[in-house]
Amino acid sequence: MFHVQNLTKKFDRTAVVKDISFSLEKGNCVALLGANGAGKTTTLRMLSGLLKPNGGSITFEGAEPGADIRSYIGYLPQYPVFHSWMTGKEFLVYVGQLAHLTKQEATERAEYYLERVGIANVGNQKVGKYSGGMKQRLGIAQAMIHKPKMIMLDEPVSSLDPIGRREVLTLMEELKEDTTVLFSTHILTDAEEISDALLVMHHGEILEQGSLASLRDKYQSAKIELAFKTFEEEQLEALKALPGIGEVTANRDGIICLVDDTEQARQAILTKVTQENWALTDFSVSKTTLEDMFMEVVNK
């Protein structure tokens, strides 16, 4: 539905976004994942028309040729700023009218979306009095007001407290029903929680992309975490030598073994522990998380 091809952006000859390409499916919720400074905001700003790319193309399926691409998208910047002397509802009606709605349509939709994002009770108060969470919701409402084909949210939950975060995530999950959502985040659990697909960005490049399921298939492996009362270097070596065990790493909390065959590895490890009489304090079998995948992709 939405295609980005070879998009590039340079600031003073330093490429911030390097030749990225991706497509979005209709009705998907896609997370643009990356550390601070990876180029996420720059990418979203280019897609929203605020920045001009140095190269590449952005196309919408079904868009009339020569049409203003901004009619099809809604955008929420990381730190949305409103006219503080306006009320939330006035602002929504204002931007609605800018997006070619009639005054009546804009008013109706403003009321609807104020209700929808849960700030109908403060709709007639000045935005200057809003809390951070309320501004974020108003921001989402203004992005939705002209029923865009796609909304882009830049770090929509990063600045919120845990409760506000939860509420906005739930809201985004609901918005998926109406439109395509592309949001950037550096928080992996948020991405994992509500997105259908991921774009992993690092140093201006998209290193990995795909649906959540396919990425899990590709990267997820079983792992066994161990902790001992006392840690010795030779334990690592001994574990590495066991059958069914791949990479072994140690961190502050203990030892992590990536395993090929969980059953075989578990037996081997437990046997070894008993033989050597190591003081085992923790033993757990789990799967690698998106964070592990992220680290793997980024460090490749």
Partner: protein, 258 residues
Amino acid sequence: MKQFMTIMRKEFLEYWRNFSWIWVPVVFIFLSIMDPLTTYYMPIILDSVGGLPEGAVFEIPELPAPEVLMMSLSEISMFGVLIIILLTMGTIAGERKSGIAELVLVKPVKYPIYITAKWLAKIKLFLTAFIIGMLVSWYYVNLLFDTIPFTDWLLTVIFYSFWLVFVVSLTIFYSTLLKNPGLVAAVSVGTLIGMSIINSIFSHHLTWFPNSLSSHILELHKSGSIPSELWGTAFVTIVLSIGLLFLSFFTFQKKELA
């Protein structure tokens, strides 16, 4: 056109909410009547603050009414213009700096519409204030000095308005070019000072230079008809204003908005 009205209505609402519609006219009234009143009451003021030494004879010349009206204009051309610049400097630059522009310009807003609507809203505000100020000034000049015919007053206001339009256009142009409102004000004032220097050096060659508007307006009062230089100067001022407006579209279109 609908977008144009939307933006302009929003600007007017803002002028109501921050009381611009009240205090800007009040300031212009104050600027306009200050000189006529102090000139007229000067002898009384001098008397009451202790006056002149015993025996000193101090003739205060009788000023013709048009010159007193021109005093109002000269106050406006100093402080009025400064207020206009300070209130206009953030029009575009401020919205971009604060980040509001990000939310407005991701909507399908045509940039020339965005700029022109703000330009016209400012002009309406300032011209309203200017006309009210000059009306009050006209009233006092007629009362305290001599009668100025209505048509002369009207022509004065109309022709001087072009200068104020030019000031707004200039400031808006810098406001699209630069991101810092304070810098916009500094550069605008600098440009006006530069223009007035050029005008005073080359005034013989540049009879149509915008800065000479007021001297041509004074001619109008003396001769009772519109001098051709006034037409020419007005024409140049309008062309420059429109040129600056189009230049603003151009710079804004080329700029990175965020």
